[in-house]
């Protein structure tokens, strides 16, 4: 592997990792604050991608489609929290697993009914459709660079939101001691609604911005969910910072493993997870 190719691969890994972070961030946020393990998180990613396809097709604008999708996803998240998830807070994790697995089936069936089962695609927006020539042969698509930058911006935004705002303070307080937060006169239910809505929106947003570079197919959510869990577990359940570091690790390790050790590449991220859990059983940055 010459140096130029090495750099391109590094870029591939970083870009993949950043996208993984965006998908995983909502999952870990919801778990950290609410203690809810949302197995239907991958379905939200799928919903985002399908909405982006649907609205882009009907508005002829990816940006408009993306905005509409994000708003609908937020609303969907709020409705799901208000009607279903809110019944789970006093129940055990098994009930949560049952409900959220059930939601996977419901969303898969809805996808099939509403949008059919064909492989769909969204064109990369005109403005970002070019590519930058890196080596004599390899060009890097501008859209992928844009996705990487957008994920970085969203990561920074999440960091600022959680560490610098009143809402973030409440989220952190809710993570460490929810009774105390309630005693201080904060409406914890409202906080939960906001956090769950945001979690769903983050997953859907990841689906939206992946739409032009992914294939939009039934079952796309389940594939992403597994990798997402690896990221969240390595990073420490509930830690946004952990998810960020873990996502980049997984992205880079997976990229290089698939080239250097193709025979075992499908195992490598799980081996990474096992090793990290041996050393730090709670993950890298557990609360």
């Amino acid at each position: 592997m010459d140096f130029a190719i090495f750099l391109v691969q590094l870029l591939n890994g970083l870009q993949y990792g950043l996208l993984l972070f965006l998908i995983a961030s909502g999952l870990t946020l919801v778990f950290g604050v609410m203690g809810i393990l949302n197995l239907a998180h991958g379905s939200m990613y799928m919903v985002g991608a399908y909405l982006a396809w649907y609205f882009t097709l009907h508005t002829d604008s990816f940006l408009l489609g993306a905005l509409l999708s994000a708003v609908i996803a937020l609303a969907l998240g709020i409705v799901i929290e208000k009607t279903l998830i809110c019944r789970l807070y006093k129940r055990n994790h098994l009930d949560q697993v049952l409900l959220t697995i059930g939601m996977i089936f419901v969303f898969n069936a809805l996808q099939s009914l509403l949008w059919g089962n064909d492989s769909l695609g969204v064109d990369v927006p005109e403005l970002l459709s070019g590519s930058i020539q890196l080596t004599e042969l390899v060009a890097y698509p501008v859209y992928r660079l844009f996705v990487a930058v957008l994920c970085l911006v969203l990561a920074a935004g999440l960091y600022l939101l959680i560490n610098r705002t009143r809402l973030g303070m409440l989220i952190r307080a809710g993570e460490s001691n929810r009774e105390m937060v309630e005693c201080l006169g904060i409406d914890i239910n409202r906080l939960y609604t906001i956090v769950f809505g945001a979690g769903v929106m983050l997953a859907a947003l990841a689906g939206v911005i992946s739409a032009p570079i992914a294939s939009i197919v039934p079952g796309m959510g389940e594939h992403v969910l597994i990798t997402c869990f690896v990221v969240v577990v390595i990073g420490g359940m509930g830690s946004i910072k952990g998810a960020f570091v873990a996502a980049l690790m997984v992205g880079i390790v997976d990229t290089f493993a698939s080239v250097l050790f193709p025979a075992v590449s499908s195992m490598v991220v799980y081996i990474l997870m096992a090793v990290i859990l041996l050393i730090k059983p709670q993950g890298l940055f557990s609360n």
Binding site: I5, L120, G121, L137, V138, R144, I216, H223
Partner: protein
């Protein structure tokens, strides 16, 4: 209970139950004879094992549509018999296949079991159904093994073997002057069989496969592999991907700036049912397959018009394969004047069948796989244009098939 009684006191039991046994035998005999009398009026039970949810749901839908269309069009050839469909969703999950196949065979007493799409599911079905009573007809899954080492008198395939669309492409690559090629697919049997078939003819003609890249299934993060292809600088790339993976691979390959510089060849599935989603990125890709939507023969025009009228959408390859499965069933029932109770006779007429398929007429090899033409197709303006014939009347070598 009965066994226990017999062991303890056989004499007494026999005597005690004799009148009952006789009555039962008489009753059974009368039921059987009346069953024989109505056999021709009984519906023919067709079990359908296709994926109606999950990644391959679109393929399952199309296969079912095609099957029903053919049997509907040929209803007059069934000699008064009706068709009872028993539909089971495989979800393309190999682990569920044996259970569903067993249920269709034992509980539903299916005469024919049509399925599946996914080769892994096919293995599960074959384990249960080989050499059993129901006739299994595979309308898609191409794993070589089904008409190779695991071939069986009651197993037919109306689609293709993995070997068929890929083998001729090695010669196609040589004819285009490519000497060094990288091959790539998912790391599962169908993918590997496709790459091996390509390599078989390509190496025989003096070509060299620089590297065989096998991606863990169902991973679709292809960036690192495509970067590696660029580093290897081959004359061309031969790939097998299907469905969502095919869409993603073709778009990524184009976005990394390789299309136009390193030509892309493939097993036809790379551009089958995926062109709308692939858009411009697919232009110029050369593939081999036993069908093309644009195939200009009367049987294809008739089929496509009927399919569109019935289902309100364009037919595809999977619809064709389902359709041909229906044609095969109808033809066999017709030849036997509606009485399919003699299994050996049924298998015989199926082996002799000539199917007037939308893909062109075909008949079956000894291993029960179609002997068929593989068309050479190039993507032009968003359609697979037929540019020639890659191999005429191509018969799968059926390596390892002994029982037929």
């Amino acid at each position: 209970m009965v066994v226990q009684l017999n062991n303890k006191n056989p004499g007494k039991t026999m005597n005690h139950y004799k009148p009952l046994v006789t009555a039962a035998a008489v009753l059974l005999a009368s039921v059987l004879s009346s069953a024989a009398a109505v056999a021709k009026e009984d519906p023919i039970r067709v079990g359908i094992m296709l994926p109606f949810s999950g990644v391959y749901a679109a393929l399952g839908d199309a296969g079912r549509n095609g099957l029903k269309l053919a049997l509907e069009q040929n209803a007059d050839k069934l000699h008064g018999r009706t068709i009872e469909y028993i539909e089971m969703d495989t979800e393309a999950r190999p682990d569920r296949a044996p259970e569903i196949a067993t249920a269709l065979m034992s509980q539903k007493d299916a005469d024919f079991i049509v399925g599946p799409v996914h080769s892994g599911v096919a293995m599960g079905m074959l384990k249960v159904l080989r050499n059993k009573k129901p006739i299994m007809i595979i309308p898609n899954a191409g794993a070589n093994v089904a008409t190779g080492p695991w071939c069986a008198p009651n197993v037919f395939r109306t689609s293709f073997s993995a070997w068929q669309p890929s083998y001729p492409m090695g010669q196609v690559a040589l004819d285009k002057g490519y000497k060094k090629v990288v091959t790539m697919s998912w790391n599962y049997s169908f993918g590997k069989e496709s790459l091996d078939a390509f390599e078989e003819s390509f190496s025989k003609g003096g070509g060299k496969v620089l590297k065989k890249i096998l991606v863990p299934f169902p991973k679709t993060e292809f960036q690192s592999y495509i970067t590696e292809i660029a580093a290897l600088k081959p004359d061309a790339v031969f790939v097998f991907f299907a469905g969502g993976g095919a869409v993603k691979f073709v778009k990524d390959y184009n976005a990394m700036g390789l299309s136009g510089k390193i030509p892309l060849l493939g097993s036809g599935f790379l551009t089958e049912g995926t062109l709308a989603a692939q858009g411009n990125a697919a232009e110029g890709i050369v593939t081999g397959l036993h069908y093309a939507d644009e195939l200009d023969i009367p049987a294809n025009h008739r089929f496509r018009a009927a399919y569109a009228a019935e289902f309100g959408k364009d037919a595809d390859l999977y619809g064709v394969q389902g359709f041909d499965t229906g044609l095969l069933i109808a033809q066999a029932v017709d030849k036997l004047n509606g009485n399919i109770s003699d299994r050996d006779a049924l298998i015989q007429v199926m082996e002799d069948a000539v199917i007037p398929s939308p893909r062109g007429e075909f008949h079956f090899s000894k291993a029960h796989n179609p002997i068929q033409t593989i068309y050479l197709r190039t993507v032009e303006n968003g359609v697979n244009k037929v540019t020639g014939i890659a191999a005429e009347a191509l018969e799968d070598p059926a390596r390892g098939c002994r029982s037929n």
